[in-house]
Symmetry: D2
Subunit: 351 residues, 4 copies
C-alpha cells in the first residue's frame, strides 16, 4: 500500500496548472496539497477553477509562492511558471530538499550556451542544470526515478522524439535532412490575454508561426543527436490549429537503404509493444489528435514513399497532457517510486 | 471487495456505445465483456475504435446480438440501439434474466398512448413497460437499485428536470408557462452519415430544429407533472450547437410570490449539497458546457428578473456522458449494488 | 451617375471598423477616404489589416481623430468607437457639418434617463440626442434619408425587432410576456485582449452571459413599445456562441386569438415581400446563421405551438454586417441619397 | 458595354456548384441561366439553396443534364460533376459548340497514361484531352483566352504551383527534394454523406490522409516540371483541417547558392506586383487562411533557414473560391473576352 503523496503546484493561472489540477483529482496515491500563485493568492482553488467543484482539491486556498511553506506541505512540487522564472524557484525548492518537476524550458537544454542563445537570457542556475534529468519516461525512466530535478520536455519535442525514436534507432532513416512540420492546438499558446489568440482570430483559420526559429528546435536536436550518435540539424516548423488540444507532427525523413514498410512497421510495433502509452497504428492507419485527447498516448502512423525514398511519420499527442502536465505527473510517479502510469490510464474523450 | 461485474453492450456504432466503452475502461468493478452489432460483428473492438487500443476492452471481438450469448457472458447489458429496436431486445434479454439498461426512449414514457403518439409507432412490450424504472438517480435512486429494467433518460430531459427540480419542489415557480430553450452539441444527432450533420453544414453556424415537436417534450412533462403534482404542459425547443458535447438548457419560469434570489439560491445549494454531481454555481455565476465536458456533472446557475418576475435557470450537462452513457453506468452501479458514482468521479476536460 | 462619396472611419481596431473597411471595398459610389485611430495613427491601413492588400483603401494612412481633418476629407463619417466616447466625437463632427453614423449606443435611446440608467454614465450631448434618428432602414427609411446623425441599432435589437415586427403589427401576438433567448457569435464581444474570449475559453463550449441585465434590453423595448402602442417589458437574455459571426434570436410570444400558422406565415411573406433583405423561410423552414453570413439578410422562420398557444419566431442576422457595419452603410446610403442596398447586395459565404 | 453572358452549371449538389452559384450573383456581365442535376431536377434553385433567396438565380428551375438544352440557353458551361463523369459531359457540350470549364480532374493531366495510372480509370476522351488548356490564369492567361475547354486546376495544385512559381523561375531553389505539407479545410472533402466528415469526426481534431498517394501529386509535378524544365518528383502530403475553407501549403525547398531572404522576397514582390490576386506578405509576415476566405487571393509568406539551407514557402488560398469555382469563373472571364477579375474583386470575410 502506498502512502498518500502530497503534491505542490506553483503557478495556477495557465493551462498547464489547470491540467495538473485536473489530473491529480484522479490520482490514487497523490493529492494536491499546496498551490501558489502571485496573482491569485488568497482565493479558494474551486473559485478560481469552477470545474474542480465537488472534486479533490477544490477547497485548497491558493498561497503566495514560498519554498519553506511548500517544503512543509509537499513531497514533490510542480513548477508551472514561465521560462526564466522557473530556474530560481527550482533552486529555492531544491535547497529545501524538495523533489521538483519543472514544466518550463529552464532545465531542458544540457548546453547552457545553447539555452542562452535560443532563449536570449542568462541562466542563473548553471550548477543545478547539471543535476536535471530530461523527463521523457520512455527514454530516461531509470534516471528520472533517481532524480530530484526533472526538466519536463516541451510538447513539440515529446511528439517529435517519440515519433523518430524507433526509425532512428533501427537505422531505417538518415539523421540528416529531417523536416518536422508540426501543428499544435491553441492551448499551447498559453492563457494570457492577447488579441492574436482571441477566438475570432484563431477559429476557422490556420497559420504557421515562428518558422525556423521556434525554441523547441534545439531541444529536439539535442535528444536526436544523442540517439543518432551524431549532431542533428533539422528543420522544425510549427503551425497553429483551431483546436483546444493536440499536436500533430508530420516528420519527413530520408530512407537509408531500401527497407520495406512491413519491416519498418514491424520494428515500430516491437519497439513500443510494452510501452504503456505509445500506440502504433495499423500499417495503413494514420493518427488523429482527438484519439489521444486528454491522455498520455502518443499515436504513431507511417507512410513510405517509394517515389521520393522518404519515410513519413505522423506522431500525435495531447500537448497539455502528454506534452506537459500528464508527463510531469508520470515523472513525479517515477521520482516517488510509483509505477509510471499510476493515475494516468485514461481513455481519450471521443468525440 | 466487490467481484468484477461483466457488462454487455449491444450497439457499438453510435456515440453512446463509444462513450460507454470509454467509461468502462475506468470502472474499478465492471468491465466490458460482450459487445454486439449487426454491422460490425466479427471485428475486434480496438480495430473498430482505435482510441481504445492499450485500454481494457480493445481485444473483445464484436458479436452478433444474441440474448443467450449475452446471458452467458454478462451480468448486465446496455442497449445502445435505436428507438423502436430496443423494446424487443430488452424483452429477450429480460427473458434470459439479465438486468438491462436501455438507452433508447422505448421505456421512458409510462403512458403507452403518449409513447405511441409522439413516436408514431406501436409499443410491442406493454407489460415490460410497467416494470421499467425511469433512471434519473437523483430522483429514483432507490427504485433503480431494485429494478431489472431501467429506462435511461433522454439528454434534454436530464438537463431540464434537474434544472427545474429544486425550484418546483420549493414552490418558487409556477408549473405553468414554462419555456425551455435548449441547445445541444452535435453528438446528440448521432453518428449516421447525413449531409445535415457534415462538418461544413454545422461548423460556424447555429440553428433551431424540431421546434414544438421534439420527442423529449412528453418525457420532460411526465416527470415535471409528477414533481408539481399537476399536469405540466410546456414549450420545449431545441437548437444545434457547433460543439461536440454539451447541453445548455435555458429555462424561463414565472415566479410564485416574491422570493429573493438569495432565498432561491440558498434552497438550491441545500437541495443539492449531498448530490455527487449537481453543482450550484455561486449566486452570480453561470454554467458553461465545457465545465462538465466528459463528466456526470449537472451545473446550474440562476438569474432572477424583477422586471418580468421570472426565474431563469441555466442547466448544463454533457449530453453523451450525463445525458446518456454515464447515466446508464450510474444506473447499472445502483442495480448491481455499487455506489452510484463508482467509476464516475471524473474531472471535466478543460479546455 | 452618382459622384463618388468620401467616407471617414473613426476607430479601426475593432471588428466593426474592420467590417466597414471590408464592405467599402465593394461599394460602387463610396470609398474610404479617411481613417483615424489614437493607437494606430501613422500606420498604413493595409499594414494594419493585411486582408485589405490589393483592395481599395489599403494605402490610406491612419490619422489621429480630428473633426476638422475629417470635414476636409469626408462627406460622411462612421463612428466605430466605444459607448461613451462616441457622443462627443459626434458633436464635434456635427459642428463641422458632417453627416454621422454612430455605431455605438450613445444615441439609440430616446429617453436620456433610460440611457443613463442602463449605461451608468452621464449623457453629455442631450440636445444632439433629440436630433438622432434610429437607423433601422425597414422602419425609419424616410427619417434616415433626412437625418444628419443616425444612431445605428444594436445587433440584438436588429434581429429582435425585425423578428417581431410583422407579428406585432398584425396583432397575432401579445406584446406582454415576450421572451427573447438570443445567441451571438463571439465577434460581438469585440476585439479587446481578454482571457474570457480567448479561443480555448470559447471554442467547443457555450454559455449564457449578462442574463436579465443586457443593455440592449431597453433598446428593444423602446422600439417594440412604439410598434405595440403600449409599454413593452420583456425578458431578453443573451448567450455566447463558438462561431465568428451570427445572431440567432429565438422569440417566444403568446398568441392573441387563434390565428393559424398559414395566416401568420402569409402575413409575414406579404409584409416583407419588397424588403431587399428580410427573407421569410418557407412555412416549415428554419433559419441558420451561416445562411446570412457576411450579408444584410435577416432570415425569419416560424413555429406555432398549439399546445402552449405560443408563436416561436427565429430571427437570424450577421451581427457584424447587418447588426453593425453593413447597416451603418445602408444608413449612409440613405443619408447620401443612394438606394439603401447600394453596395450591399451580397450572397452569404456558404459554407 | 459587355452583353450579358449566360452561364450553365451542371452539378449543383456539391460545394463547388454552391460556390459558383454564390459568385455568379455578383458578376456584372454573366448570369446563371441554366442549372442541371440528376438528383435535384425539377426543384427551384432557391429551394435547394435557401441562401440564394432574393439574389439572382434563385428562381431558376434545375433541369436534367442535357447538352442540347444547355446549348440553347448558355454561352458557357461549368461542369461541377465528379471525376470520370465529366469527360463525356464535356464531349457532348463541346459537340454542341459550347465553351466548357471543367472543375473535375478529367482534363488536367496532359499525359493520359499518368491520368489512367493515378485515377485508375480509362480516359474516354483522348482527343479532347489534347484540346484542353490548364486553367491557371497567372501562367496560361493567353492560352485560356483562346480555349474552348479549360481544365480547372485542383485546389492543392493551385496553392502549390503559385507558391513555388517565383522561386523556381528565379532559380533560388532546387527542383529536387521538394516537400509539400498541405492542409485543407473540410469543404475540400465534398458534400457527400459520410461518417468520416461528420461534424463530430472532424471538429476539434486534425489528421493526415492519403499520404504519398494523393491524386493532386502528378498535377503539381506536371506543372513544376514545365516550370523547372526538368522532371520534378516531389513529396506531397495532405491533412484535414477543422475549418470550412482554406488551404495552407507549407513548402520545403533546398536553396541553390546562397541567396538572401531580402533578394528572394524582392523577386517575389516584383514577380507578382501586377497580378490581381497573388499577394506577397511583408518579409516577416506569414499568411492565414482566413485572410483569403471567400476570395481569389493567394497569399504567400517566406522564411529562410540558414541552418538547414532551406526556403520555406507558405502559400494560402480558399480551396472553394480560388481552388475551384472562383478560378473557374476567372477562366470563363478570359474565355469570354472579359477581364480576368471581372466579378472577382472580393474582400475576404474577416473574421
Amino acid at each position: 500500500m502506498h502512502k498518500e503523496l502530497r503534491a505542490g503546484l506553483i503557478g495556477v493561472t495557465g493551462y498547464t496548472g489547470m491540467e495538473l489540477a485536473r489530473l491529480l483529482t484522479a490520482h490514487p496515491h497523490m493529492r494536491l496539497n499546496f498551490t501558489a500563485s502571485r496573482s491569485e493568492a488568497g482565493k479558494r482553488l474551486g473559485d478560481h477553477y469552477p470545474f474542480l467543484e465537488k472534486l479533490p482539491g477544490a477547497d485548497l486556498v491558493i498561497r503566495q509562492p514560498d519554498a519553506k511553506q511548500a517544503a512543509a506541505q509537499c513531497d514533490i512540487v510542480f513548477l508551472a511558471v514561465p521560462h526564466g522564472a522557473a530556474m530560481d524557484f527550482a533552486a529555492d525548492l531544491r535547497a529545501e530538499g524538495l523533489a521538483v518537476v519543472d514544466l518550463s524550458a529552464d532545465f531542458r537544454l544540457r548546453d547552457v550556451d545553447v539555452f542562452e542563445h535560443w532563449y536570449a537570457t542568462t541562466h542563473s542556475q548553471r550548477t543545478l542544470l547539471q543535476e536535471a534529468v530530461y523527463g521523457l519516461p520512455e527514454l530516461y525512466g531509470e534516471a528520472i526515478a533517481g532524480a530530484k530535478l526533472v526538466a519536463n520536455p516541451g510538447c513539440y519535442p515529446t511528439a517529435s522524439i517519440l515519433g523518430l525514436y524507433a526509425a532512428l534507432k533501427h537505422g531505417f532513416i538518415s539523421s540528416e535532412d529531417l523536416v518536422i512540420d508540426a501543428k499544435s492546438g491553441t492551448s499551447g499558446a498559453g492563457r494570457k490575454a492577447a488579441v492574436s489568440t482571441l477566438f475570432c482570430e484563431v477559429h476557422d483559420s490556420f497559420r504557421a508561426y515562428n518558422l525556423v526559429k521556434h525554441r523547441h528546435t534545439p531541444e529536439i536536436e539535442q535528444e536526436l543527436s544523442l540517439l543518432a550518435g551524431a549532431p542533428v540539424c533539422l528543420s522544425f516548423n510549427p503551425h497553429l490549429l483551431p483546436i483546444d488540444r493536440g499536436i500533430h507532427a508530420t516528420i519527413y525523413a530520408k530512407l537509408k537503404g531500401e527497407p520495406t514498410l512491413d519491416e519498418i512497421h514491424a520494428a515500430h510495433v516491437e519497439c513500443w509493444k510494452d510501452a504503456p502509452w505509445v500506440r502504433m497504428l495499423p500499417k495503413d492507419g494514420l493518427p488523429e489528435t482527438r484519439q489521444v485527447r486528454g491522455t498520455m498516448f502518443c499515436d504513431i502512423g507511417l507512410a513510405l514513399d517509394p517515389r521520393t525514398k522518404r519515410l513519413i511519420i505522423c506522431s500525435v499527442i495531447d500537448n497539455l497532457c502528454r506534452g506537459a502536465s500528464g508527463q510531469a505527473l508520470a515523472n513525479a510517479n517515477l521520482m516517488c517510486g510509483l509505477p509510471v502510469d499510476c493515475g494516468l490510464v485514461q481513455a481519450p474523450l471521443m468525440p
